[in-house]
Symmetry: C2
Subunit: 660 residues, 2 copies
């Protein structure tokens, strides 16, 4: 077999190679109660008539239709009442000419009867009225005020579905409706396509399962791909089998991969970005299986493996018969290696692997999973391979879908939730222009764009505000980036804290003020009282990055202090130990203080209170919500205004906030 | 409290009344592995920085950015190699000015380093080249051919998400993507909205659970609503609790309803069409709870109850304090009584109950669940209430959706699968004209119309043909109705067996012939040889209804025999015992013979063979597929032609068939 690993396979080749893998697909019988969403393996024919008997379809009187010929309101026919039949009873009476039987909806038609007169077109008359003796029920008679045809108001046996008829075809996905029809047929166990068993192996010594302690000093991170891909496998109709991580050396990896191959139809490895783990897997597949493809010409996702792994059972045979043709029949399981970065792994899984799992499980492709929209920002493309660009969606005031790239690095796990789908950009495209119409493949047919997209400064009161909205999305990129993106027309609102250096055309939606300063250890051991103390003492400080409004306020205060002292701002900065040690989150400097890794951190009074730390106030700064003038008619702004009105109450526990 | 039961409640009132019921909605913690599709009860904030350390984003060399100033292809900088850091290792080396450290993607940045130069912009040079002693690795140096800025190719601690930041908002439905972000945060247990527990009680003594034996003589039928509604409850995000049926008397029903009230947030009763069971429930709710609504002005679904049931726990208190205000606080569960007929029950459930369950479970409303289409057939409407008309969908050759009413009685369970959704017809509408544009509420957002709609004669070869198609729908209404509907432009194809009395404009798609005659007991105990024997002997016969092509062929043969004998056809019919005893399915007469309920039945040779019976041939009749000329360009017809080509093979086991 010739293998070409030097060139990356094109996406169509990858699809075909994966489609040719055998992912199982047998049949199993499952209780009807667990049948929802499963796919019928075989046609089901009715084994019984439904209903199983001629059944009264209305409350009334069972009659012989011929007795009612000519009956009408003006000229009723009178029939003797011979008895009664209720639903669930075997009739103990028959209908002879001139008689009738009271009958309930659902009851068995008594022998002799062939039609039902509805009760509304009848009247009961007792024996006296028709000249009988006294009020013995035997003498009751019924006045029939309408004629009925044979079978009228009767559902004949088998009229719903007859024994032997085709009920539900193979390949049907069962919803409550099909479950209803199968119940009517008395079926309580159904043959389904077996769910392909998909083994998931996490590689990379640095990965730790969520819930266990993490040693960041050693560079450990939580394993993201195992749970993500397992959920994806289940959504596609497969059964996910998660294998514990077993070390990155050859023997351990070989054992793990072949155990998974023994137990599963498909083995997915995923997790590590480390070259060593990938190299080990590569060697195992080459030596203990068959490598079909190495690398796909797609971004993200280039490092992808497709192949097969020998199962243990077949191993001895295969070795014994190595020179024999029968070795071609070595039992193997399918293998696909996903890239390590979560966004890449999930994208490759969704595009190439999930369709194969759905096919093996007999699951239909999701009905609607694309949305057309207008690209807001120009997107350059200088790759020689197909780009699957992660994008977010937002609607304008007219309900049109706008599309913007989500450009966090592929190592970021937050881009998993900040994006709604991908746009395919062909290899020969130079760029997509702003305003261009694009088709977005949603990550999931149920994805709905956020109602409100906000970009800017993270803030505890904003967090409360977001909780009061329906499907908001907030990108905590800092005040400066919020204002910049608003100028470019991307978000619905920018959240801007502190002084702004450049104006942006926007609708002021309101805001609040927050008290900022230094978060210090409990008891303020360095007796920090103001900014001058930070400059003049040897205090380990932690700053925020330059996108933050807190950083801007600090810089302005430093400039004022420099003016007052008649020195350069730079000289003050130089004398602050850790001024360039910036961290990302609104709580991050305070958390370094809490950890004992710093003596003071730039932050908010409310954060100090939350973490049980002390606080040195440097002032209040405004936080403003700036609305995109083109979007202000969106319904979400009404909800936002309502939420702003109750925000002071929701934020009663936040220290240092003013809402006036 | 004033209750108005005389007038039916309008749909909006019913919606509001149900929305006011308390369906639970607490919080429970669930393993992240079981989190897919669940709805977050609370906001989740990051408890840790992700990544938890400054992390190399590329393979290369960790450096002090200031050492690379001015470096380029033409003018490289050379740095001493001080060591190596892999992913998952605690760095045991630091980067001093003039040195660098080899680093892998994902590894911890060593102390002193603030940037990474990617390996592609470097070259390793050994000690000799720079004048050192020998090839001791301590002397290895690295040529750096590019300048890097501080933080370049480094993902700073917290850059993905910082500790304290808002990660996922309350009310978010978890997909694999959110599961990925939560994994990155180390979260392994998540607070979810509790799924409302919904008790399902089946009423009606005539109902038997699927899988158990059925006594049709007593009018028993299988319980359809329990499984259907349970599947619907689960699809809406509730937990279905099925209660065994316990008899229709007051005490048994009261015990069952109050046990369910004790254990569930909502009790749904459903199942019986019998007035007595409904009356008992009505009384229980009035005496042991509170009836809020009785009847909704919707068709189907008029008989609907909404109320509350007292829980047992609260009972004693309530009786003791009957005159006290505190009796208002009796613990109660919500109660909704659904109509008995399956289509009505599921429609009312879908329209009124499922939204309330979704709201309590925090599940979003399904994204897209409507389709616009053109009504093919005029629909009269003379009701004074809102009609939810069950409709089927089919596409024309241009992909437009066509809509036709599904007009089986509401007692039919097959209409569950023969319809795709409902069209609302307002109370004041007289009729919808053919060609009118209507909006169809799909039963499920995943509903897709069939690819091919066939109407006509049921036939075993047709069954095989349908199995070879993708999403066909066949309505077995007989040859005559197939031809009639094709004239009205509804189906894609009509399936017509035997002679036709009226021509229909159609495209002949092919067909086959089948041998028809009498199915008789094994050994043919009456020595039936031809039609004359049936006429001349006292044989219990079972016929097919007049819509069937088999019946038409039999009638033609009778006419020929009457001609030959010089008697009226009617006289021959009169002498056949059971000529008017018609049954519905293609196998139904034969099954009566197999059961011993008849001596001969109209049917096919292949049915006799299947059931182990004997057969008396009366000839062959053609079965023809007639294509709708307006639809013939649909892709499904290509699939149909392919399937027809292989049909002779697929039908090799059918006796009496000819495909030529």
């Amino acid at each position: 077999m010739t293998k070409e690993f030097r060139t990356l396979a094109d996406p169509e080749t990858v699809r075909e190679t994966i489609a040719d893998l055998d992912l199982g697909g047998g049949t199993e019988r499952v209780d009807l109660r667990a049948a929802r969403g499963r796919v019928l393996a075989e046609r089901i024919d009715a084994e019984i008539d439904v209903p199983g008997f001629d059944r009264a379809a209305m409350d009334g009187y069972a009659v012989q239709a011929s007795d009612t010929v000519g009956a009408g309101e003006a000229d009723p026919t009178v029939l003797d009442l011979a008895g009664t039949v209720h639903a669930g009873e075997n009739p103990d009476v028959s209908v002879e000419p001139g008689t009738c039987v009271e009958i309930s909806t659902g009851a068995v038609m008594p022998p002799g009867a062939d039609a039902v007169v509805v009760v509304e077109r009848t009247d009961e008359i007792d024996g006296d009225e028709i000249g009988g003796n006294d009020d013995d029920s035997d003498d009751t008679a019924i006045e029939i005020r309408t004629a009925v045809a044979p079978s009228e108001n009767v559902m004949l046996a088998g009229a719903d579905i007859a024994a032997g008829a085709r009920a539900i075809g193979p390949g049907t996905r069962l919803t409550p409706r099909e479950i209803g029809l199968l119940s009517a047929l008395g079926v309580d166990e159904v043959p389904f396509r077996t769910r392909p068993r998909v083994g998931i192996i996490s590689t990379g010594d640095e990965l730790v399962p969520p819930g266990e302690p993490l040693d960041s000093e050693r560079g450990e991170i939580y394993d993201v791909n195992t749970n993500t891909i397992a959920a994806g496998v289940e959504a596609a109709g497969g059964e996910a089998v998660v294998y514990p991580h077993a070390g990155d050396d050859f023997d351990a990896m070989e054992d793990l991969l072949r155990q998974a191959a023994d137990e599963c139809d498909l083995v997915l490895s995923s997790g590590s970005t480390s070259a060593s783990a990938v190299d080990v897997i590569y060697r195992v597949i080459e030596e203990r299986g068959e490598l079909l493809l190495h690398g796909v010409s797609v971004k993200p996702g280039k490092p992808m493996l497709v192949g097969r792994i020998d199962q243990h059972d077949a191993d001895d045979d295969a070795e014994a018969a190595a020179t024999d043709d029968s070795s071609d029949e070595t039992a193997q399981s399918a293998y696909i290696g996903l890239p390590g970065y979560p966004v890449s792994a999930l994208t490759i899984f969704r595009v190439f692997v999930a369709p194969a799992i759905r096919a093996a499980a007999g699951q239909p492709e999701p009905a609607t999973a694309t949305v057309d929209g207008e690209l807001i920002a120009k997107q350059r493309h200088d790759e020689g391979r197909l780009r699957l660009l992660s994008v977010g969606l937002i609607e304008d005031a007219d309900g049109n879908t706008l599309v913007y790239p989500v450009d966090k690095g592929s190592g970021a796990t937050t881009s998993l939730v900040d994006a709604d789908g991908v746009v395919e950009i062909a290899p020969d495209t130079d760029y997509l222009a702003a305003g261009e119409s694009v088709t977005v493949q949603l990550f999931d047919p149920d994805v709905r764009p956020p109602n409100l997209l906000a970009v800017g400064e993270a803030d505890p009161a904003l967090t409360e505000l977001l909780d009061a909205l329906d499907r908001p999305r907030f990108l905590p990129l800092g005040s400066r980036e919020g204002a910049r993106r608003l100028r470019n027309g991307v978000p619905d609102i920018a959240v801007v804290a502190g002084p702004t250096d450049r104006e942006v055309e926007a609708v002021e939606l309101g805001g609040w003020s927050r008290e900022w300063g230094f978060v210090v250890p409990e008891g303020n051991p360095y007796d920090l009282a103001d900014l001058a103390d930070l400059v003049d003492n040897d205090i380990a400080f932690v700053n925020r990055d330059t996108t933050s409004g807190l950083r801007t306020s600090l810089s302005n205060s430093l400039a004022a202090l420099a003016d007052k002292r008649g020195v350069s701002r730079h000289s003050l900065v130089e004398s602050i130990h850790g001024f360039e040690a910036t961290v990302k989150g609104v709580e991050s400097p305070a958390r370094r203080v809490a950890d004992g890794r710093a003596d003071a951190g730039l932050g908010l009074r409310t954060t100090a209170a939350k973490l049980g730390l002390d606080f040195v106030s440097l002032g209040d700064q405004p936080v403003r919500l700036l609305g995109n003038p083109d979007r202000i008619e969106k319904d979400a702004f009404d909800t936002l205004r309502d939420a702003l009105a109750t925000l002071p109450e929701d934020c009663a526990s936040l220290a240092g906030y003013r809402f006036d």
